[in-house]
Amino acid sequence: MADEAELAADQHVRYIVTVEKVTSAATAPFPPYAPSTPPSAFQRPLLSSAQKKDSFESLVMEHIRLNGAYWGLTTLDLLHKLHAVDAAEVVDWIMSCYHPESGGFGGNVGHDPHVLYTLSAVQVLCLFDRLDVLDVDKVADYVAGLQNKDGSFSGDIWGEVDTRFSYIALCTLSLLHRLHKIDVQKAVDFIVSCKNLDGGFGAMPGGESHAGQIFCCVGALAITGSLQHIDRDLLGWWLCERQCKDGGLNGRPEKLADVCYSWWVLSSLVMIDRVHWIDKEKLTKFILNCQDKENGGISDRPDNAVDIYHTYFGIAGLSLMEYPGVKPLDPAYALPLDVVNRIFLKK
C-alpha cells in the first residue's frame, strides 16, 4: 500500500499530547485553526476510546510519570512540535517532583527520589533550556553521592546497582557540567568490568550481554571519552547480528524483534561508528509497520497496542537513520542535537 511506508507524524503528536492528557478542562492544548495552517496539524483533540482504555494503564504508571514526560516531550521536539505544550507549566510540574532535601527527583509528585527520574527531569529541562531553575550543585551532589567504592552507582538510597545507573549518573552530571564530582576513572573501570566475551555488556559483571545494558555502557564510555575500551568491530558485529529477518532488531540472540531496540542497538552502533552494518531500509520499514496510523503511537511490534515508550524509541530510531522531517538526536545524551550543542557549546 502506498502510504504504508510513511511516518504518521501528526497522529503521533496528537497521541502524545492528548491520549496522555485525559482532562475535562475546557482549555484546548492547540491554538485555534488559522486559515494559513493546514487543518490536520491543529485539530481539536478528541477523547478517543483508546484514552479510556489507557486510563488504567496510565494509572499504574503514575509513579514513572517523569519518564513518560521525557519520552513524550522529546518525541514532540524531534517532530518539531515542542511548542504544542506550555513550557512554563511543564517546568513547574517537573519542579514539583523535586526533593530539595536530597537534591533528587521522584517519578511524580510525592514520590521518592531516584536517579531514573532525576535524569529525565534534567533532560526535560534541557529541552526547554531551563536548567536555570535547578540548584545544580545540589542535584549533582545527590547523583555523585550514589557512587559506590567499586565505581558503580546505586539507583537510590536502597542500593540497587546496575550499569543503567552508571549511564544515568554520568549523563546527568555531564549535562550539568559536574562530572568532576565523581571518580570518573573508577566509574569507567566498573563498566569495563561488565564487558563480556562477545564484546557486549550486562547489568553487572558476568551478566548476559543485552542491548539495553550495552547502550548504557557504550553511552557512559562515550560521555567520559573512554570508547577505547570497546572492541568496536566485535561489538559492532554482535549488534548488527540483532537484526532479524523481519528487519527489526532484538536485544539478545534468539529473541523477538522489538521497536525499542531500534534505539538501544542503533545508538550504540552510531557511537562506535558501525551503524552502516545494519540494513537501514528494512529497519525503517519495520518501525513504520509498528505505527497506529489512525490514532497515533507506535507499538513494540506490528499490530500490538501502542505506548509512549515505544513511540519515542521508534521515532528516535528513525532520527538516527536520518528519516526526513525528524530532528537529529544525539546518540549518547538521547536529546536532540541542537539541545546538546546548546549545552556544550554555549558555556
Binding site: F56, H63, V90, S96, L197
Partner: protein, 326 residues
C-alpha cells in the same frame, strides 16, 4: 491475587485517617483518570506515608498498594522502612514478595526487594532463592532479572555445587537459550569449585562442539567456543577440533553463516592452508566461479555477502579490510 474485597475506607483500623489525594500540581502536564478502588488505596497510603507512620496497619496498606500496582517504588521504599521499624519477620516477607514476583516476574522493584531481604537473611536463604529463580526460569528461561538475581546469590551467598548441572539441564531443554550459555560461562570462570577456565576448557570444547553439530544455526555455542580461548587465539587456531567443527558443518551446508564467520576468524588468526580447507571451499568456488582464484578469506567473505544479505556491509568491510592481511 486476593486483596481485601472492601477498600481501606471500610477498615475499622483506619477510621481516624484522612486520605490524601494525588497531587498532580496546579496544572498537571499529564493528569490521568483514576480507577476508584485504586484511588482509595493510594489516598490512604499517602496519608500514612506523609505522617511517616511505621505500624502494622501501614504495612497492611502497602500490601494492598503493592498487590494493585507492584511497580510503585515509593510504596516499596515505605514498606522497607516499616519492616525495619517493626523488626518484621523477614522470612515471612520473603514469602510475600515471592508470591508477588511470580505474577510480576519482570518488575525491577520486586527483585531488588528480594535482594535486600536476602542480604539481611544471609547464606541460609541461598537455597530458597535458587529454588525460586529456578521456578521463574522454568516459565521464562531467559528472564534477565531472574538470571541477575541468581548470579548475585551465587556470588554473595553460595550454592555453586549444582550450577553447571543446572546449565546442562536448561541447554538440554533449549540449546538456543543464550542466557543459559552465558550462565555456563559465568560458572566455569567464577565458580570456586571448578578450578577455573583452563582446567575445564578441554571438556567444555567437546561439549560445545557437540551442541554445534546438533544445531549449527545456533548463535550462542559458536560465541561460547571462541570465548573458551579468550586471550589465547593461537591456541584456538592450533586446536584441530575447532577448525574441524567448521569444516564438518560446512561440508553439510556451506551456507551456514556462523560456521563461515568462525572460519573467517580462524583464517585471520593464522589458520594454515590445508587439504581440508581446500576441499571445504571447493563447492563454494565451483558454484561461484568469480572466486575460483581468490584467497580463502575473500572466498568466504563473498559467500557471506550472499548468504547474509542483511549484513552485507559488514562482510564487505571484512573483505576489504582483512583480505589483504591473510
Amino acid at each position: 491475587m486476593e486483596h481485601a474485597k472492601s477498600g481501606p475506607s471500610s477498615w475499622p483500623e483506619l477510621a481516624d485517617v484522612v486520605p490524601v489525594p494525588q497531587d498532580d500540581g496546579p496544572s498537571p502536564v499529564v493528569p490521568i483518570a483514576y480507577r476508584d478502588d485504586f484511588r482509595e488505596v493510594m489516598d490512604y497510603f499517602r496519608a500514612l506515608y506523609f505522617t511517616g507512620e511505621r505500624s502494622p496497619r501501614a504495612l497492611r496498606l502497602t500490601t494492598e498498594a503493592i498487590e494493585l500496582n507492584p511497580g510503585n517504588y515509593t510504596v516499596w521504599h515505605f514498606r522497607r522502612l516499616i519492616l525495619e521499624a517493626l523488626d518484621f519477620d523477614l522470612l515471612e516477607e520473603m514469602k510475600f514478595v515471592g508470591k508477588i514476583a511470580e505474577c510480576n516476574p519482570k518488575n525491577y522493584q520486586i527483585w531488588h526487594h528480594k535482594r535486600w531481604l536476602a542480604e539481611k537473611l544471609g547464606p541460609d536463604i541461598a537455597n530458597n532463592e535458587h529454588e525460586f529463580t529456578m521456578k521463574i526460569l522454568a516459565i521464562d528461561a531467559k528472564n534477565y532479572h531472574a538470571w541477575s538475581h541468581r548470579q548475585w546469590v551465587l556470588q554473595a551467598l553460595g550454592g555453586w555445587e549444582t550450577e553447571l548441572e543446572y546449565c546442562n539441564q536448561l541447554l538440554k531443554e533449549d540449546v538456543f537459550n543464550n542466557s543459559a550459555w552465558n550462565q555456563r560461562y559465568f560458572v566455569i570462570t567464577r565458580s570456586p569449585l571448578l578450578g577455573g577456565l583452563t582446567v575445564v576448557r578441554d571438556s567444555e570444547v567437546d561439549y560445545t562442539i557437540e551442541a554445534i553439530l546438533a544445531n549449527p544455526q545456533n548463535e550462542s555455542p559458536w560465541r561460547y567456543l571462541k570465548g573458551l580461548y579468550k586471550g589465547e587465539n593461537n591456541l584456538l587456531v592450533d586446536d584441530e577440533r575447532i577448525s574441524g567443527v567448521c569444516f564438518k558443518v560446512l561440508k553439510n551446508d556451506w551456507t551456514c553463516v556462523f560456521a563461515l564467520s568462525f572460519l573467517l576468524d580462524l583464517l585471520c588468526t593464522g589458520l594454515q592452508p590445508s587439504d581440508e580447507l581446500k576441499s571445504t571451499l571447493e563447492p563454494i568456488r565451483s558454484s561461484h566461479p568469480e572466486t575460483a582464484d581468490a584467497d580463502p578469506v575473500t572466498v568466504v567473505c563473498c559467500i557471506l555477502q550472499k548468504c547474509d544479505p542483511l549484513r552485507v556491509n559488514y562482510w564487505s568491510w571484512f573483505k576489504a579490510t582483512l583480505s589483504q592481511v591473510s
